[in-house]
C-alpha cells in the first residue's frame, strides 16, 4: 500500500509539477485567445471627405480537432462558396499549422456574405468567426496614393515583433508609409470554452484582456473631387497628372493612368485581382507613373536654363540670339528673340547658346576643362530646383530623375574628352536628362513661388498631430526671386497671347501661366507634356501633365492642365474642352494599330 501511495505521489509530482505539457494542452483546449483587431485609421482628403474607410469583414476560423468528421462538407462548401478540393487543401493547411489552435480557414468574408454563413455555423463545430475589417474606397480613386494592405509575411514577422501571423500591414502607398500610425494596437480577450466549444465567459474575470486601440486617422492633402476629375480626364490614356499647392507643397492630386479601382485589392479576391492587374495588363496599372516614370523634360527644361543662366549672369532678359537653325532645328517664324520671346516660341537655337554660355564660362583655357567646371556649376543650380534629387515625399519608390554630372560624362567619354559640343542636347531638355512628373509639378511650383518650394507631400495631419517636420521646412533654390519675373511673363504669353503654343490652356477668368513640352520618341508618337500654375498674381495651384504617346504638348496636356486648374479654382469646367479630352483614347487606338 505504501508503495502504491509513493508511486502515486511520484507520478502526480511528475505530471503536475515537472511536466508542463499538460498545462499547455489544457490552455489549448479550454482557453480561446480572441484577438481584438483595432480598426485601421481612416483616410480623409483635405476637406474631410472619405478616401478610405473600414467595413466589417470576417475570417472563418477553424480548430481542426473539433471539426466533426461526419460534417456535411458539400453543404459547407456551398455555404462559403469554395470547391471540395479547396476545402481539403484548406483543411490540410489548418492541420499542418495546429490541430488544437485556431487558424484562418477562409479570410475576409464581407459582412453581407457572413450573415448567411454565421446562421448555419452552429452545424459545424470547430468553425467560428473572427471579426476583421476590410478597406473600402467610396470613390474608387487614388489607388496609387493610398496603396493597399496585405497579410504580413514571415520576414515582416521576424523583423517586427508586433506582427503575428494573420495580421495585415500596409504594402504600398500611404498605407505603408504611415503603417505605424494607421494600424493601432491589438487587443486580446481570453475566453473559456467548454468541451462543445461554446464560450463560458472571460478567463480570470478579464484580467488578461485588453482593448484594441484604434489607428490614427490620416488627413491627406488630396482634393478628392479634383482627384476624381483628373482620373476621369486621364481615362483611356497613359500618363500622369500632379497638382501641388505652391505655397505649402501639398499635393492636391496625384494621378497615374491607367489606374485601378483600389477596392479590387481588398479581401478575398485580392490575390486573384492582383495577378490580373500585374500579369494580364500590359499597361501596368499598378505602376505609379507620377513618381516612378522618368521622362526627358523636353522644352520645359528651357525654363530651368533661363533662370540658371540669369542667376549666373551669362544672359540678361534682353539678351538676343539669332534663331540659327543650322546648329539645331527650330519651329515657328521667329528670328532674333529676347529671353521672354525665346521661351514663348521655345526657340531651340536660343537655348543652345544659353547652355553653351553656362557650360563654357571661360574659366579655363581648355574647353574640356572649362566644360567640366561649367557642368558642375550648372548642375548645382539645377538640382536646387528639386531636379535630379529625390524629393522626400511620403510615398516610397520615388525616382530621383537624372541630371548628369562630370563623373557621368567622364565615365562615358573619359576625363576631359567631352565639351559643350558633346552634351548640347541637354540645352533643350533632351540628351541625358531625366525627370519625373512630380518634379515637373514642383518646378511649376518653384516658378510660381519665385524661387522656393516645400517638399511635395500627401499627408496634412496624422490623428491630432500636424504634418511631419520635414514638410514644414522651406527649401530655397539658388536662384534669386527677381529672375523669375521674365519667365513668368513668358509663361503667361505662352498661354494667353495669340500664337502661343498653349492656347488650349487658356481660361477666360483666370491667368494661367504654362509651358508645353514634347518629349520626342523614336518609334512611337511623342509624349505630350505641360506644366502650369495659376492664377498668375497669386498662384494657388501648380500642375504637371504627361500624356504618353499622344503628340504635341499643347494639344492634349495643356487643355487637361487647364481643366484641372479651372476645376480646382472655380469648381466649374469648360464642357466643350472637357468633352474633347474625355473622348480622346490613346490606348485602344494604339492597340488597333498593332493588330
Amino acid at each position: 500500500m505504501g508503495v502504491i501511495g509513493i508511486i502515486f505521489l511520484m507520478r502526480l509530482f511528475y505530471i503536475q509539477v515537472i511536466d508542463d505539457s499538460y498545462k499547455t494542452s489544457a490552455d489549448n483546449q479550454a482557453l480561446r485567445y480572441v484577438t481584438l483587431y483595432p480598426s485601421r485609421g481612416i483616410i480623409y482628403d483635405r476637406k474631410g471627405e472619405l478616401l478610405a474607410f473600414n467595413e466589417a469583414a470576417y475570417d472563418l476560423m477553424v480548430v481542426p480537432r473539433q471539426v466533426n468528421r461526419t460534417m456535411d462538407t458539400t453543404f459547407f462548401c456551398n455555404l462559403i462558396d469554395i470547391t471540395k478540393e479547396e476545402f481539403v487543401k484548406k483543411m490540410e493547411r489548418a492541420k499542418s499549422y495546429s490541430y488544437y489552435r485556431s487558424s484562418a480557414f477562409e479570410k475576409q468574408i464581407p459582412a453581407d456574405e457572413w450573415a448567411a454563413i454565421s446562421e448555419r455555423l452552429y452545424q459545424f463545430p470547430g468553425f467560428f468567426g473572427q471579426k476583421r475589417t476590410l478597406r473600402r474606397y467610396p470613390k474608387k480613386v487614388a489607388g496609387h496614393v493610398l496603396g493597399y494592405i496585405g497579410e504580413v509575411n514571415q520576414n515582416q514577422i521576424d523583423e517586427d515583433s508586433y506582427y503575428q501571423k494573420g495580421d495585415y500591414i500596409g504594402v504600398s502607398g500611404l498605407e505603408k508609409t504611415y503603417e505605424n500610425e494607421l494600424r493601432g494596437e491589438r487587443g486580446v480577450q481570453v475566453l473559456m470554452v467548454d468541451v462543445h466549444n461554446s464560450v463560458k465567459g472571460n478567463y480570470m474575470n478579464g484580467e488578461l484582456d485588453s482593448l484594441p486601440e484604434p489607428g490614427k486617422d490620416l488627413t491627406t492633402t488630396l482634393d478628392r473631387d479634383l482627384q476624381v476629375y483628373g482620373e476621369k480626364l486621364m481615362q483611356n490614356k497613359k500618363g500622369s497628372i500632379v497638382a501641388i499647392e505652391p505655397k505649402t507643397g501639398e499635393i492636391l492630386s496625384l494621378i497615374s493612368a491607367p489606374t485601378y479601382d483600389p477596392n479590387l485589392l481588398v479581401g478575398r479576391d485580392r490575390t486573384k485581382n492582383y495577378v490580373e492587374l500585374v500579369r494580364n495588363d500590359s499597361l501596368d496599372p499598378l505602376f505609379n507613373r507620377a513618381i516612378k516614370a522618368v521622362y526627358r523634360p523636353g522644352s520645359i527644361f528651357k525654363l530651368v536654363q533661363s533662370v540658371v543662366a540669369l542667376e549666373n549672369e551669362v544672359i540678361t532678359p534682353e539678351t538676343r540670339f539669332h534663331c540659327n537653325r543650322s546648329i539645331i532645328n527650330c519651329h515657328g517664324s521667329h528670328t532674333y528673340d529676347n529671353l521672354q520671346k525665346a521661351i514663348q516660341h521655345s526657340c531651340n537655337p536660343y537655348f543652345w547658346q544659353v547652355y553653351k554660355r553656362l557650360i563654357q564660362m571661360g574659366e579655363e583655357e581648355s574647353i574640356f576643362k572649362d566644360s567640366a567646371i561649367g557642368l558642375e556649376n550648372w548642375r548645382k543650380y539645377v538640382t536646387s530646383l528639386g531636379l535630379g534629387v529625390r524629393l522626400e515625399t511620403d510615398l516610397e519608390g520615388i525616382k530621383k530623375g537624372f541630371i548628369p554630372d562630370k563623373e557621368f560624362y567622364d565615365s562615358w567619354y573619359g576625363e576631359y574628352r567631352w565639351a559643350f559640343s558633346t552634351i548640347y542636347s541637354n540645352s533643350i531638355g533632351e540628351g541625358e536628362l531625366g525627370v519625373i512628373p512630380l518634379q515637373m509639378a514642383n518646378l511649376a511650383s518653384v516658378i510660381a513661388n519665385k524661387g522656393f518650394y516645400y517638399t511635395p507631400h500627401l499627408v496634412k495631419e496624422i490623428g491630432d498631430s500636424p504634418k511631419l517636420e520635414k514638410y514644414r521646412k522651406k527649401n530655397n533654390t539658388l536662384i534669386d526671386s527677381g529672375h523669375f519675373d521674365v519667365v513668368i511673363d513668358a509663361l503667361d504669353a505662352v498661354v494667353n497671347e495669340p500664337g502661343g503654343t498653349a492656347r488650349r490652356a487658356r481660361i477666360d477668368s483666370i491667368t494661367v501661366c504654362g509651358k508645353t513640352g514634347t518629349v520626342q520618341n523614336k518609334k512611337t508618337p511623342d509624349h505630350s507634356v505641360f506644366i502650369a500654375f495659376a492664377p498668375k498674381e497669386n498662384p494657388q495651384i501648380a500642375v504637371s501633365v504627361y500624356v504618353e504617346e499622344s503628340g504635341f504638348g499643347g494639344t492634349w496636356a495643356a487643355p487637361i492642365a487647364s481643366l484641372m486648374i479651372e476645376k480646382y479654382l472655380t469648381g466649374k469646367t469648360n464642357k466643350r474642352k472637357e468633352q474633347r479630352i474625355l473622348e480622346a483614347d490613346f490606348i485602344h487606338l494604339d492597340k488597333e494599330d498593332k493588330e
Partner: protein
C-alpha cells in the same frame, strides 16, 4: 447496565477514523460542487443538482452510520449469511428486473430511487467471509476452506460480471489479500503475480507478427512467447544439470501450464472480451494510442490533473473539469477536480489521507480479539484500497479505465451508503472489541 454499555461505546469509538471519514466526505462534496460549477450555478445546496443530492446522501449516510452504531454488535455476525443471501438475491434480481444505464444492467429502481446492489454486495461478502473464516473448523490449509472462501467470493463476482460491470467484479480480486492474512500460502500470490505478468506479456506480443524470411514463415507473437517459455525451461535445466532429475518434472509441467495459460489468455482476450475492454487495456499499456477515441477519458483526465500545477488553479477555477472536458467528472473522475483546482498540494493531501485511513484500519484490524472482526477489517481495507488504487491510478494513467468510484469522494448514493456502512460496521465492531470473548 444499559447506561454503562453506552458509555463504553462512546469511549471506545475510534474518533480518528470518524474524523478522516468526515473530512473526506466533506472534501468530496466540495469537489462535486466544483466539478459541476458554472457561472449560473446556484448554491451548493441546490437539490436539483449533483452537489445538492450528494448533501442528501451525506445526511442519510450519517443517519445510517448512527443506526449501524446503535444496533447490537452481535447482529452483524449473527446475520452475516443472511445479509450475504439478501445481496446475492438482489444481484440475481438486478439481472432480471434491473434498469440498464450506460450499457450495464446494474440498477434497481424503486419509487424514484435507484440503487446499485453491486455496491452493497461487497458488504455482504465481507461479512460472510469474516463469518466463515471465524468458524472454529476452518483452516486455510484445508482444501475445503479454500474452496468455500473462493465460492463466497466468486458467486457475487460472477453475478456482477453478468451485468456486466467488470470494474466492480475486479474489486473481489482484492479479497485475496484477506485470505493471505488468514494463512493462504504465499505461493498463490506469487502465481497470481506471475499470471498477471504473463497476461500483459501476451497482450504485448499477440498483435505482433514475426516474419522469418529464410523459412518463408509468418508467426504470430504468442507462439514466439510459448517457444520462449520452453527455451527458458530448457536453459534452467541446462544450468542446473546436477538437479535435473528432480527438477525436470515440475519445470516441464510449469511450462505446459504457462503455455496453456498464454493460449487461453489469447483466446479469452480476443474472443470473450469486448472491444472497449481490449482497447482500454491496449491504451493503458501504450500498445495503441488514440487520445480522441478510446483514450479520450484518460487523456483528458491527465490534462486536467497535470494542468493543476503545484498549487492548483484555485477552487472553482478549474477549466478542464468545469467545462466538461473530463467526462464523468463528479463520479469516477472526481480526482481530476482535486488535481486541477488544488494542485499537487491537494492531491498529495488526499493520498496521504487515504494512506492514513488504510494504516489506521490495519492497525485496528490487528488489535481485534475476534477473528470475525479482524477478517472483516481486512476486507474493508482491501475494498477501500482497491477502489483507491484503481480509481486514482486510472485518472493519472497508471491503471486501465475501470469505472469504480473513489470512496467518499465520488458522487453517488449507493456507493456512499455502502462505504459508510462498511466503515461504521468496522467502527462498531472495534468499539465493542473488549466485550468480545475470545
Amino acid at each position: 447496565m444499559r447506561g454503562r454499555r453506552t458509555k463504553n461505546i462512546t469511549e471506545n469509538i475510534d474518533w480518528l477514523l470518524i474524523s478522516i471519514y468526515a473530512v473526506m466526505v466533506l472534501l468530496g462534496w466540495l469537489n462535486i460542487y466544483a466539478a459541476n460549477y458554472t457561472d449560473e450555478a446556484g448554491t451548493i445546496f441546490d437539490f436539483s443538482q449533483n452537489y445538492g443530492k450528494q448533501l442528501m446522501w451525506i445526511g442519510t449516510s450519517a443517519a445510517l452510520a448512527i443506526v449501524v452504531m446503535l444496533l447490537d454488535v452481535r447482529f452483524y455476525e449473527t446475520f452475516a449469511y443472511v445479509f450475504y443471501g439478501i445481496f446475492v438475491a438482489l444481484l440475481v434480481a438486478v439481472l432480471l428486473i434491473g434498469t440498464e444505464i450506460k450499457g450495464s444492467q446494474s440498477w434497481i429502481v424503486i419509487g424514484g430511487i435507484s440503487i446499485q446492489p453491486a455496491e452493497f454486495a461487497k458488504y455482504g461478502t465481507a461479512l460472510a467471509l469474516a463469518k466463515y473464516l471465524s468458524s472454529i473448523s476452518v483452516k486455510m490449509e484445508h482444501f475445503k476452506t479454500r474452496f468455500m472462501s473462493a465460492a463466497i467470493l466468486l458467486v457475487p463476482a460472477a453475478l456482477i460480471l453478468l451485468q456486466p460491470d467488470a470494474g466492480s467484479t475486479l474489486v473481489y480480486a482484492s479479497f485475496i489479500f484477506v485470505l493471505y492474512r488468514e494463512g493462504l500460502s504465499g505461493k498463490v500470490l506469487v502465481v497470481g503475480v506471475a499470471a498477471a505478468v504473463l497476461f500483459i506479456l501476451t497482450l504485448f506480443v499477440e498483435r505482433e507478427m514475426w516474419n522469418i524470411e529464410t523459412l518463408d514463415l509468418t508467426i504470430s507473437g504468442e507462439y514466439i512467447l510459448m517457444g520462449a517459455i520452453f527455451i527458458l525451461v530448457g536453459l534452467v535445466l541446462l544450468l542446473f544439470r546436477k538437479n535435473a532429475s528432480s527438477l525436470w518434472r515440475p519445470l516441464v509441467l510449469l511450462a505446459v501450464v504457462a503455455v496453456g495459460y498464454v493460449a487461453s489468455v489469447n483466446y479469452i482476450f480476443n474472443e470473450i472480451f469486448e472491444d472497449r475492454h481490449r482497447n482500454r487495456i491496449y491504451e493503458l499499456l501504450g500498445i495503441i494510442s488514440d487520445p480522441s477515441g478510446t483514450g479520450y477519458n484518460q487523456h483528458q483526465s491527465k490534462i486536467a490533473i497535470g494542468s493543476g500545477g503545484f498549487w492548483g488553479k484555485g477552487y472553482l477555477e478549474g477549466t478542464q473539469t468545469k467545462f466538461n472536458f473530463v467526462p464523468e467528472q463528479s463520479t469516477d473522475f472526481i480526482f481530476c477536480t482535486v488535481g486541477e483546482e488544488w494542485g499537487f498540494v491537494g492531491t498529495s493531501i488526499i493520498i496521504v489521507l487515504f494512506l492514513g485511513l488504510f494504516i489506521r484500519i490495519i492497525w485496528i484490524a490487528e488489535r481485534q480479539r475476534s477473528t470475525f472482526a479482524r477478517v472483516y477489517a481486512y476486507s474493508v481495507v482491501c475494498i477501500f484500497f482497491f477502489h483507491f488504487a484503481i480509481n486514482v491510478g486510472m485518472t493519472i494513467g497508471l491503471a486501465p479505465v475501470i469505472g469504480i468510484p473513489l470512496p467518499f469522494f465520488s458522487y453517488g448514493g449507493s456507493s456512499l451508503w455502502s462505504f459508510t456502512i462498511l466503515l461504521f460496521t468496522l467502527i462498531k465492531l472495534d468499539a465493542e472489541r473488549r466485550n468480545v470473548l475470545r
